[in-house]
Amino acid sequence: MVMFWVSLLAISILLYVLLDGVDLGVGLLFGLASGETRRRAMLSAVAPIWDGNETWLVVTAVILWGAFPIVYANLLSAFYLPLIVMLLGLILRGVAFEFRYKTQRLRWIWDLSFAGGSLIATFIQGMTVGALVEGLQFTNGEYSGGAVGWLTPFAVLCGIGLCLGYALLGACWLVRKCEGKVRDVARRQIPVLAVGVLAFLVVVFAYALAENLPILDRWIDRPYLFVFPAIGAISAAVLAFSILNHNDYLPFHMVALIFVSAFGTLALSFWPYMIPSVITVEQAAAPQSSLVFMFWGCGLIVFPLMLVYTVVSYSVFRGKVRTTGGYEHH
């Protein structure tokens, strides 16, 4: 039963990162784009999906609370300020989707809140993971790192890294969904971002070696973990190849694969801990009576239905968004 809920948690987090990573990434690139036509096309590429994507964040939160309450309580309270700022960033960018079309004069406010909210949310998500990898300060199973205990150079580095990663994911999505100028710009951005992500990974690895992070021990214990970086490396190679060939569809799948392998790498190097070297999955699990109650009422049927719903809503909006016509009437 614990394994069941760990799997659902992993699926939800992975889905959140992949799906919301796309529209957060587009939000980041949106900040760089100029011109109303391009901005509109970029928004069109993610407008039908962003809200559903964010739902997975809530799903993650409630699975964490219901199935692993100790982790929920410890992590959310330890990351107090960053989490609240991230939520408000997500709210700001969420309403910007609609509100920017309701005003001409004040549109810059909503554009700013869209790009800024995306940046804040992405950076904080990356920073949080970085702080977890490096290890938070705990005393007797309780967070004792203070108000900004998560703020370390490594965490900041990870925040920047995730910004690059989401932007890469967003650029691949734009190549896949758009045509014309937007696609061409995004296509030029991909190599830059991909190199950035690669450089980031090298720096992280060097840092982990230099600082001798406890997480490295897992890698020496379990050499089979290297299968994930291997998948990532192959995907990166295919990504480079597909960019050179001007393929619109392959890059997105490859970057998604890189994210999956990065996620798998992280998850398996955490295992069996949920908060590295502090709380294990078994220790964090809610009592059996809670897990069983959720299994019958939520996990068994409703969760698969939610997955089906996600697939269906994506297939409704498959194909390129039409960016020609209709934009020039002011």
Binding site: R40, L43, S44, A47, P48, W50, D51, L57, V58, V62, W65, G66, P69, I70, Y72, A73, N74, L75, L76, S77, Y80, L83, I84, V85, L87, L88, L90, I91, L92, V95, F97, E98, F99, Y101, K102, E142, Y143, S144, A147, A286, P287, S289, S290, M294, G297, C298, V302, F303, L305, M306, Y309, S313, V316, F317, R318, V321, R322, G326, H329, H330
Partner: protein, 469 residues
């Protein structure tokens, strides 16, 4: 333990949840109203029901979107500010919130898509079915939230193990008798909110002499529904009083402004509770046994006063005392309005009675005020406990939260909420002012973007998401 951080955390929770409850209480009622309209259209074939349906669907979309956005914050606040509660009651409250999220996601999100997109793609009976499913989804949400809150009011079905509430009887948690007076009370409150907003909109159009057919239906149905539901609501309110009296004597004593044990009890109608001197000033009191009659359905029952409860277990007396009276006052006003309006409407005289139309138009804040003050009575009255009688609010807070952190978060919450929700409310106002569109409904919006339903009024149309061939 930082007492300032505790106070700020409580204010923050109160602020965010008060803002949040406004939108669900509106949409639960509206969803049911949409289902009724669609059923009427199918049964009678009258196009006017379709016009009204499309109009309220747009308002539903904006309010629903605001409810979702403000609800995300709630899923995190238990962990950020109340980590001790989250740890201890997680095995019970976590699963209940999970049910709420999962079921709402499944029913509301998917069938809401049909509502927006599917008019021309699905058979009429399925469209009606989808409307009903959205209404059912919002009702499920309300149910699990009420189960969750009722467990905090009257904890049951658990054993304590290592300082954690371990559920050992989910049927007792779900079918707690308290749930079955509180859940209908909330559901009826949401229906009444919908009814009064619809009636007020109808009255507004009638005063402005526009949308004659639509406004007549809105007025008649809104007031008629309220006229039937209001007495039922008062009855469930009374049942709630009985549970409070049985399980939460300190809350009841505060609501009633009762200082001394009385047998049988008197009933304080109005007063100024003077906590320092433990007495009421300027009290208007009904003599015994009215208090016992109201609180215990008995002519002779003894009623507990605050003096026989240790002061450290008192709630802040004034808030439940006044909030309760405001709620009841709103309820009585709504009852009078609904009955008088329905009577005049039955005699075909309502359209000429401008004072009553004005009163109906201006009545739309009443249900919201009643819901918020009702929740204040329930939640502040539960203090100083977060889980009544078992866990104190002060012991539930994140132990290392500082006043500085709490101040920063509260300030940015207030700023962002005020900014965004005032905008949203303004858009709802603009939609209602403009009124129904008798042209066919444009299929601009998409299932995942409820707020885009307001798109008809765009300065420019967004031209989003035309999926390719």
């Amino acid at each position: 333990m930082d007492m300032t951080a505790l106070l700020l955390s409580r204010i923050q929770f109160a602020f965010t949840i008060t803002f949040h409850i406004i939108f669900p209480s509106f949409t639960i009622g509206l969803a049911a109203w949409l289902a009724v309209l669609e059923a009427l259209r199918l049964a009678t074939g009258r196009p006017v029901y379709r016009v009204i349906f499309d109009f309220w669907l747009k308002i539903f979309g904006v309010a629903f979107g605001m409810g979702v956005v403000s609800g995300i914050v709630m899923a995190f606040q238990f962990g950020t500010n109340w980590s001790e509660l989250a740890k201890m009651s997680g095995p019970i409250q976590g699963p209940l919130l999970m049910y709420e999220t999962f079921w709402a996601f499944m029913l509301e999100a998917s069938f809401f898509g049909v509502l927006i997109f599917g008019r021309s793609r699905v058979p009429p009976w399925f469209y009606l079915f989808s409307t009903a499913m959205v209404a059912l989804g919002t009702t499920f949400s309300a149910f699990f939230i009420m189960v969750n809150n009722s467990w905090m009011q009257v904890p049951t079905g658990y054993v304590m193990e290592n300082g954690v509430f371990v559920p050992n009887d989910w049927t007792r948690i779900l079918f707690n008798s308290v749930v079955w007076s509180r859940f209908p009370h909330m559901l009826l409150a949401a229906y009444l909110t919908g009814a009064f907003c619809v009636a007020a909109t109808g009255a507004w159009y009638m005063l402005r002499k526009i949308y004659h057919a639509e406004s007549r239906i809105m007025l008649r149905m809104g007031l008629g529904l309220a006229a039937v539901l209001m007495p039922v609501q008062l009855f469930f309110g009374h049942l709630n009083g009985i549970y409070v009296n049985t399980y939460q004597p300190s809350k009841m004593a505060a609501i009633e402004g009762r200082w001394n044990d009385e047998k049988p009890g008197s009933e304080v109608l109005f007063a100024w509770p003077d906590v320092e001197n433990r007495r009421n000033r300027f009290a208007i009191t009904l003599p015994p046994p009215f208090g016992s009659l109201i609180d215990s359905d008995s002519l002779t029952a003894g009623e507990t006063g605050l003096n026989s409860i240790p002061p450290e277990n008192w709630p802040p007396v004034a808030i439940p005392f006044f909030a309760f009276r405001i709620m009841v006052g709103c309820g009585l006003l709504m009852l009078g309005l609904a009955w008088l309006g329905s009577y005049l409407s039955y005699r075909h005289r309502l359209a000429y009675n401008r004072p009553l139309l004005w009163a109906t138009f201006l009545s739309f804040p009443l249900p919201f005020v009643a819901i918020i003050t009702g929740w204040f009575t329930a939640e502040v009255g539960r203090q100083p406990w977060v889980v009544y009688g078992v866990l104190r609010t002060a012991d539930a807070m994140t132990p290392f939260l500082t006043a500085q952190q709490a101040t920063i978060s509260l300030v940015i919450f207030c700023a962002v909420y005020a900014f965004i929700f005032l905008f949203g409310t303004f858009y709802i106002y603009r939609l209602i002012r403009t009124g129904p569109d008798r042209k066919p409904f444009p299929h601009l919006a998409v299932p995942n973007r409820p707020m885009s339903l307001a798109g008809e009024e765009l300065i420019e149309e967004p031209n989003h998401l035309v999926a390719g061939e």
